[in-house]
């Protein structure tokens, strides 16, 4: 990891990355509004959970550059082995482990990667 990326303990430092973090956290914050909208439309918990889980994973893909290499590739590799998906656990993976649709909805609305500055609402 170069200076731009910073050390694993301190995380990325560039202005672009900091702006990216803000945008990332804002998009995750928007998932709560998506949930409210879907509830107003009468969608089921399962429909909401599946939609938010997928949108949360899409956000992770969109902002993947916030995680520097080679960290990102190593995380993708271990996710593939554990979840068969580099972006992390799917709704079905959670369901196989007894998670409720409500659990999956709450999980989707949480950020991760605290030392990367990505964990603002966990």
């Amino acid at each position: 990891m170069g200076d731009e990326a910073g050390s694993p303990k301190t995380g990325p430092r560039s202005r672009e990355v900091l702006q990216g973090r803000d945008a990332y956290n804002a998009e995750i914050g928007g998932l709560g509004r998506t949930e409210a909208q879907m509830r107003s439309e009468g969608k089921s918990d399962e429909q909401i959970a599946r939609a938010l889980n997928q949108q949360r994973r899409d956000i992770g893909e969109k902002y993947k550059d916030l995680t520097p290499e080679p960290l990102r590739s190593e995380i993708y590799a271990r996710n593939l082995e554990r979840y068969q998906d580099r972006l992390g656990p799917t709704a079905d993976w959670f369901r196989a482990r007894g998670k409720s649709w409500a659990d999956i909805i709450e999980s989707a609305k949480r950020t991760g990667g605290g030392d990367l500055g990505l964990k603002s609402n966990k």
Partner: protein, 160 residues
């Protein structure tokens, strides 16, 4: 019954609760693919552990010992010999986890095993939804039982 690996998605198993025999397969070629999911398994250290539902009852098989996973079962979990005990910062290479399983009329069972994600702690992992107990089967079982007694586990045709 069909069981799946907690730590390797591509691996599934056929488990016989009467004998404790577990035969594993690649998920794509498993002969029991159409059966409902009835459990999870993983070895904790050298000890094979299967957490499953049989005849409506959640059970825990630890080595050759079979215990009802009900309110009488007590699980104590701790990190040992670890320099970092914040689970957001802990990695598998640091110390171990120790799970103590206590049930009525049974001597406590203690298993020690590697715990946590390899090399990169969760604090640096932006994966959505990732939790420490995805990387620690003993802690996963403890958390499930403490949350709701595992009432929702392996009771329907959940994907597996």
């Amino acid at each position: 019954m069909r069981v799946i690996s907690h730590d390797i998605y591509a691996e599934v198993g056929e488990f016989d609760p009467a004998t404790g025999n577990l035969t594993t397969f690649y998920r794509d070629s498993a002969p029991n693919a159409g059966q409902p999911l009835r459990g999870l398994y993983q070895s904790l250290g050298d000890t094979p552990v299967v957490f499953y539902r049989d005849a409506g009852q959640l059970r825990l098989r630890v080595g050759d010992l079979v215990l009802p996973a009900d309110e009488a079962l007590s699980l104590q979990w701790q990190l040992v010999d670890a320099t970092e005990t914040d689970l957001d910062q802990h990695v598998a290479e640091d110390g171990a986890a120790e799970l103590t399983i206590t049930a009525p009329d049974t001597r406590p069972v203690v298993v020690r095993y590697s715990s946590g994600p390899p090399r990169i702690p969760l604090a640096l992992d932006p994966t959505p939804g990732v939790e420490y107990d995805h990387w620690d089967f003993g802690l996963f079982i403890k958390n499930i039982l403490e949350k709701n007694g595992g009432a929702s586990l392996f009771v329907e045709d959940a994907p597996g």
